[in-house]
Amino acid sequence: MRALLIIPTVFILVTVVFIVMRATGDPITAKLGDKLPPAQLAEAIHNAGYDRPWIVQYVEYLGQIFTGNFGTTGDNRPVVEILVTYGTATLELAFYALVVAFIVGIPLGMVAAYVRDRWGDAVLRVFAILCYATPVFFAGMLLKLVFSVWLGVLPVAGRASTGSELEMQFLPFSTGIYTIDAFLTGDPAVIGDVLRHAVLPAIALGLLTAGVFLRLVRTNVIGTLSTDYVDAARSRGVAERRLVTKHAYRPALIPIVTVIGLQIALLLGGAVLTETTFEWKGLGFMLAEFLKARDFAAVQGIVAMLAVIVALTNFVVDIIAALIDPRVRY
């Protein structure tokens, strides 16, 4: 039942993107409307097939999506190629961000539950709200200012310095994921360089999710702390700290798995902003570039593709949640 729901979800998202992007007109007018004389413009629109009834275009569009064709960019590169070329960078960034979120969010959430309703709790909760309230690009700019410009300890932008990128290009087999590539070169300087470049973007994006994890863990641990089995353990004289770290936190982690699914959407949205801030050449950076160039066909393709990715990830996360928690059955 649940598995079948993914088909309408993808279908609806793709349809929404189509309607939204087509409702105002065609990508060609949007891009060249003020540059070409009307006759040439009409011809370009006709050649691209944008003057046909929208239902025809829609069916054709669905057919294309179904066969994995998300359209082409203004300079005739398939959008799927953009995904293959730049997707790995976004994947890498999202992975590092999740690592930061786990390291920061989960322990702090447990601490907040342990000291609940005292000032330490209030400080941590305000911290969690600050994580949410700070736009990733502002966090990124502050981190850049402090660590790159004033202290000069970390690089300002990019995924690696030119030297490291050159060295990685000579690899016989390259994954596009710089961390793996760097280890493949076996050069400690390259590994260090790649990791140093990832620190600030990962923190900027990771803190956003860390705040969510902190709140979630806190709420759930407090919830489990008042259950019967924890009361039983407490009455046997188990220390409060041990109750939090041993008894209450494990069931509290289950909702996190489910929430990660929703976080993927947040992370992708945040990745667009983080990548723009740090010139991290991933999907989000490219999306912003296409937006700037008013290449709306490419934007539409990337957005539709991301929609499919989000739907698929949510689906996988749902299955994982069902595997972890025996109470969840679809």
Binding site: I12, T24, A122, L145, T277, L291, V299, V303, V310
Partner: protein
Amino acid sequence: MTATTATSATAGAVPKRRLRDRLPVVHQLRQSVGLQRGMLVAGLVITGLFILTAIFAPLLAPYGFAQLRGEDGAFGSQQAPSAEHPFGTTVGGYDVLSRVIWGAQTALLVIIVAVIASIIAGVLLGLVSGYFGGWFDRVLVVVCDAIYAFPSLLLAIALSIMISGGQSSLWGGILAAALSITVVFIPQYFRVIRAETVRIKAEAYVESAKVLGASNGRIMFRHVLRNATRTLPLIFTLNSSEAILTLAGLGFLGFGIEPTAAAEWGYDLNKALSDVTSGIWWTSLYPGLAIVLAVLGITLVGESLNDLADPRLRGRRRVAQAAGQVAETSVVPGGTLSAGPGGLDGLENGESFDEHGIEVKR
């Protein structure tokens, strides 16, 4: 309107409580204690400052948001903070302090338009969908779940391309940003109101109204809606903060409002991006802090309201008593889909539910 009806579900007992006690925030402020009260008060103060700044921006700001020159010539570009320009000037030669103050006005306008539009649309859809059920309901639920799972910023980008073609004047920009945010938020209101409607539909007083011959419209708006708005102030605050962030995100990606039409914090941060590398901190710090403060204030209020409404988090007896009876609400996707197998049609033919919620045939 939502403000006064919001607590009527909890205030159901006769005699009717005074208006002062039924206003959502005042009520919560009275029931809060200790740290919780501190967070709520801090949030209210910051939010109040934000709103006042927005309203009195023309009086507070030393210069106009698009002003490039004062009495003694042009401001100059990227000037460090000084007596004339306490927050310095931007790369475009605008006064940072003035743009930060005027930016509050833009943000407030966008919040108002976006949240009101999404409340109206979301509440109406949720009410109709939950009350009548059927295939329309099912389709809407799936559509809303799909939109809800989608990165809101990407959706807002797609929508703002559609609405404005990417760039616009003050009202064009505000409307584009606000409507983009609206579409993203509709599913949230829809889900909450729909879940409440499905629950309330099965309550005895709705059945009584039906027996008395009340029309569907009257039941929906008088009996169901007035009791389903309990959670709205909470979503309202959370959405307001998200609206500011989405607006800033759009502005940062260059989808904002032209600098000559209005001041927008995200746009200013976009322009400040290259300043950071050369160590110019004042162009990014102040607009960024403005966003953080505005969102922080509103979120503090929302979080506190949330905690006070959730008995698990409240955890103090005195507060629990003051909160009164609160029915279970589910906003989880895939929750209860319909109250009766036949929906409303099944009921109108004289069927009803007994006190255990089991359907009773004539």
